[in-house]
C-alpha cells in the first residue's frame, strides 16, 4: 500500500469510482492519468487500477498510449450529437421492452429512485441529480429483460451522463416529472406509451442540451460555474 489516503474503496469498485470521477468532471478532458496517482487516490495497488483503465478504454472514456499513459478523452460536439441521436432510437425501444418485462422489484427500485430524485431536486442537492438520473435510466435498461441489451444501454447511459454533465439545472424539475409519467406507463405495462414518453423525454433533454451549448458558445465564460454538472435529463 502506498499512502492510505483514499476513502479505502473496495478494489472491485475502482472501475466505477474512476468512471464516476471522469463523468463528474473531476478529471478534465485531455488530462493525463497516471496509474500510480490513481492507485494512491483509491487506496489500492496498480493492478486493479490497470484493469479499471482497460475497461474504461474499451468503453471509450479514456485513451491509452503505450508507454506514455492514459488520457481522458474529450467528447466533441459532433460526437455528443451522435450519442444523443443514438439514444433517441435505442432507449424508446428499450422502454417498450421494459413495459412488457419489468418485475415488481424493478418497479420498486424505480419508484425509490424517483423519490430520491424529487427530494434531491427540491432540496437543492443538485450534485446528486445526474447520478440518480443515470441510475433511473439504467434500471429501465435492466428491466428490458435482455442482459446483453441492458449492458450496452448502460454504457450508452453513462456516456450520456458525461454529455449532460454540463447541462443546466433548470430542466431538472421537468425531467423528474417526466420520469414519473414514464414510471406510470411502465407500471401499467403500456409499451407504446412508455416508448412514446421516453422518446419525448429524450427529445426535450436533447433540446435543452443544444440550448446550453449555444448559450455557452455566446458566453465563453461559464456564467454560473456552480450550476454546471448538476443537470441530467
Amino acid at each position: 500500500m502506498a499512502g492510505d489516503k483514499g476513502p479505502r474503496r473496495s478494489p472491485q469498485e475502482a472501475v466505477r469510482a474512476v468512471r464516476e470521477d471522469i463523468i463528474r468532471g473531476v478529471f478534465a478532458p485531455g488530462e493525463r492519468l497516471t496509474e500510480d496517482a490513481l492507485a494512491t487516490r483509491y487506496g489500492v495497488s496498480r493492478v486493479p487500477v490497470r484493469e479499471a483503465l482497460r475497461v474504461l478504454e474499451a468503453e471509450g472514456f479514456v485513451e491509452a498510449k503505450p508507454y506514455i499513459g492514459v488520457f481522458v478523452r474529450e467528447l466533441s460536439e459532433a460526437e455528443a450529437e451522435d450519442l444523443l441521436e443514438l439514444r433517441s432510437v435505442v432507449e424508446p425501444m428499450c422502454a417498450a421492452r421494459a413495459a412488457r418485462n419489468r418485475t415488481p422489484e424493478q418497479l420498486g427500485r424505480l419508484k425509490e429512485l424517483l423519490n430520491l430524485g424529487w427530494d434531491a431536486v427540491h432540496d437543492g442537492r443538485l450534485t446528486e441529480v445526474p447520478r440518480l438520473n443515470s441510475r433511473f435510466h439504467e434500471v429501465i435498461a435492466e428491466a428490458s429483460g435482455s442482459e446483453v441489451l441492458g449492458q450496452m444501454i448502460r454504457q450508452l447511459s453513462q456516456k450520456i451522463a458525461w454529455v449532460y454533465a454540463v447541462e443546466l439545472p433548470r430542466r431538472a424539475e421537468d425531467s423528474w416529472r417526466e420520469h414519473e409519467e414514464i414510471l406510470e406507463a411502465l407500471a401499467a405495462g403500456d409499451a407504446d406509451r412508455a416508448s412514446a414518453l421516453l422518446a419525448e423525454h429524450i427529445a426535450k433533454a436533447t433540446n435543452a442540451y443544444r440550448r446550453r451549448v449555444r448559450e455557452a458558445a455566446q458566453a465563453p465564460e461559464d456564467p454560473a460555474p456552480t450550476a454546471a454538472r448538476t443537470g441530467g435529463d
Copy 2:
C-alpha cells in the same frame, strides 16, 4: 514465461485473441476460463489475461464471479433477437453518416474487404467469411466519423458475429452482393440509399438467422456441423 507453447502473440492482442476464440466457438458457452490456462495458451502472464477478461466482461462476452472465475456467457435466443433489432435501427443510421463522412482511404479498405469476401465465398473458404463480414461492418462504423459511436457499433458488430456464428453459408453469396451495393452507395455519398440498403441487408440477414434457428429447433442434431460458423450477413 510459463510454457512458450502458444503462437507467441503480442500481449496487446490478448484481448482480441480471446474474443475471437469465443466468437468462433473455441470456448463453449458456460465454459469456465481459468487465467492460468489462458496465460499458457497465449504465451503471456496472468496480468494481461486478467485485463483482457475484464474488458470482455465489460463487453458482455464473459461473466466474472468473484473468487470463482470467469465463464463464457451464452446468448439466449431472446437476447439474439434484441441484438438484431438494435442493429436494425443503429446500423442504417451509421451508414447514413458514413455516406457523408467516409474518406477515400476507407472506401479503399471496404473495396479490398469486398474482394476478399467474394474470393473466400467463391473458393469455399467459408471459415474466413464471418471475420471479413465483421470487418466490413466495422469499417462502415469507423467511416461514420464519430469515434465514440464507432466504438459502440464495433462492440455491437462483434456480438452480432457471435450470433451469426451459427448461420447457414447459403446466404453468404447474397450477402456479399448486397455489400457491393452498399459500397456503391457509400462511394456515391448517397446517405438515404446507403441507409435503406443497410436496413434491407440486415432484415434479410435477420430472416436467415430466424430460419436457421427454426430449422435447428426441428432437428436438434446439427445436420451439417462443418457448415456451422461459416455464415455472416
